[in-house]
């Protein structure tokens, strides 16, 4: 393996791993806290992409505005999604299969959002410009600034989320609810407010990811499908509900993909990746860092 191969593997791992982490960590946050596999998370990536397109391409405003706007819009959308697809079912948690029903209701929200995007923006892909143009060459490997910024922003947001969860009052509350709902209520945690906040926060992270991904792939009504699939794979591979597992899984998947791309070629990267994941899950059905009884924040 040449030194340029090594650089390519390291750089691709960091870039892929970071964006996988960003679009997946919200799903973990939601599953860990609410016990919901939120199928609307991919839609938040899609909406983030359209916000990016609207602000960068149509309005030609500053990219920082695009990132902030995507965060704000998808935060509100996440709160709204919780209020219409999860909150009404909370009081019936004991009498229904809550995980399955909310899987379906959040999936329904995803379908509605995709069709709304289709109605508003049409079926054609929209071009989203990179946040920063240009790039550099390291050992013959080209690296664009946009991808570097995407990796750095993802890492910073994930660190920010970690600090929020470990240092702030509401972060404590989210972790507490994830571990023991009744005990958290006895501490005075208003779960009726906490759940929308959690879904808003998770959706906002996916939304920011959407602005970056929009520039890599385009904004379109179906732009959330692949990120949703990726997020599902990452969170299951890492162990449902485990933040640590999600982060490790994101970078391990990024690494496997990078290794396959450099050594075998792009065509084989996904089959190899899914083959490895399949093997791991056969031997560890609860993922790398999950366990049969629990996987918590």
């Amino acid at each position: 393996m040449s030194s340029s191969d090594l650089v390519a593997i390291v750089v691709t791992t960091i870039v892929f791993g970071s964006i996988y982490g960003l679009v997946s960590i919200g799903m973990t946050l939601i599953y860990g806290t609410l016990r919901i596999l939120d199928m609307s998370q991919g839609s938040m990536v899609m909406v983030g992409g359209f916000v990016g397109w609207g602000i960068l391409t149509v309005a030609t405003w500053n990219p920082v505005v695009a990132l902030l706007a995507a965060f704000a819009v998808t935060f509100v959308l996440g709160v709204f999604t919780e209020l219409i697809s999860v909150q009404p079912l909370m009081s019936r948690r004991g009498e229904i299969d809550f995980e399955m029903v909310t899987f379906i209701t959040t999936f329904a929200v995803a379908i509605v959002l995709a069709n709304l995007a289709l109605q508003i923006f049409g079926p054609f892909q929209k071009n989203v410009p990179p946040i920063i143009h240009g790039g550099i060459s390291i050992q013959g490997v080209h690296l664009d600034y946009h991808s570097m910024l995407m990796a750095v922003t993802s890492i910073l947001l994930m660190i920010g989320l970690g600090l929020f969860l470990s240092r702030t009052r509401w972060g404590f509350a989210i972790r507490a609810v994830a571990q023991d709902l009744d005990a958290a209520r006895l501490m005075g945690v208003p779960v009726g407010k906490l759940y929308p906040l959690t879904m808003g926060l998770a959706s906002a992270l996916a939304g920011v990811g959407g602005v970056f991904l929009g520039a890599l792939y385009f904004a379109s009504p179906t732009a959330g499908d692949l990120p949703l699939l990726t997020a599902l794979i990452v969170v299951i591979f890492g162990g449902l509900g485990s933040l640590k597992g999600t982060l490790y899984a994101a970078y391990i998947i990024g690494f496997i993909q990078a290794l396959a791309i450099v050594l075998v070629g792009t065509t084989w990267s996904l089959p190899i990746l899914y083959g490895v994941i399949l093997l791991v899950l056969v031997f560890r059905p609860y993922g790398l860092f999950g366990n049969p009884s629990e996987a918590r924040l």
Binding site: R169, F172, A183, L186, V189
Partner: protein, 241 residues
């Protein structure tokens, strides 16, 4: 005592699960600064009573008044913010959080959060063993240590009453002594306590009044001395002391 307004006034409470009534038409008053103990066998409604009072379950009938306001039917989180501290059976610790983070969660209400560092130092002074374990995850603690952390967490906010559910359950005798030492220090500080226990052995150190619960109803009440003087109670409920 009776002319002092009670902190907690339970009137004709009936509660249970599904179609099963566990607590039946139970009335109980807890005056400020008193330690009221409810004794009863397993499965006779002690925990259900506390859960219905603290809002973890909705009563079928009856009223619960706390600090002069009716609270039955309110959510547990709202009742907690009113100043009721419920330390549930099994402690309700957050297993993957450190001991210190568990204690800090006890200060979740906004007013308590501001003073959390000063309060945690007071709790550490009261329970030095908890200070020693503060970096440990709750899941790694022994049963007795968990119980002390649960009590400490209950002291992390200004509460008008502490509901303590079977603090001796599953503990070795020496650890029960430690836990009851901690409860005595809480009672000595004039905190109001409603405690439920299956075991009479240790409550003499803390109880101002005792009620005996059988199949969801209070069947005897009085001081521990009064109950101990009642041969029927001793033979029926206390067994061999």
């Amino acid at each position: 005592m009776s002319d002092i307004a009670p902190i907690l006034d339970v009137r004709g409470l009936t509660a249970g699960y599904g179609d099963t009534m566990v607590v039946r038409d139970l009335s109980l008053r807890v005056q400020p600064g008193r330690c009221v103990v409810i004794i009863g066998p397993n499965g006779h409604g002690k925990s259900t009573l506390l859960r219905a009072v603290s809002g973890l379950m909705k009563p079928f009938a009856g009223e619960v008044w706390f600090d002069g306001e009716r609270i039955d039917g309110e959510q547990a989180e709202a009742i907690a913010l009113r100043g009721m501290v419920h330390i549930p059976q099994g402690d309700g610790l957050f297993a993957d959080m450190t001991v210190e983070d568990n204690l800090l969660m006890g200060s979740f209400p906004k007013a308590s959060w501001k003073d959390r560092q000063a309060t945690i130092e007071r709790v550490y002074d009261l329970f030095p063993i908890v200070r020693d374990k503060r970096e440990q995850r709750a899941r790694t603690l022994s049963g007795g240590e968990r119980r002390l952390v649960g009590l400490g967490r209950g002291l992390m906010r200004e509460g008008s009453i502490l509901l303590i559910d079977e603090p001796s359950l599953g503990l070795a005798p020496v650890m029960i002594d430690n836990v009851y030492g901690a409860i005595r220090s809480i009672v000595d500080a004039d905190r109001t306590v409603l405690l439920v226990e299956e075991n009479f052995t240790h409550i003499g150190e803390v109880a101002d009044e005792v009620h005996v619960l059988e199949t969801g109803s209070i069947v005897r009440s009085g001081s521990l001395e009064e109950l101990m003087a009642d041969r029927t109670v001793v033979e029926t409920y206390l067994g061999v002391l």
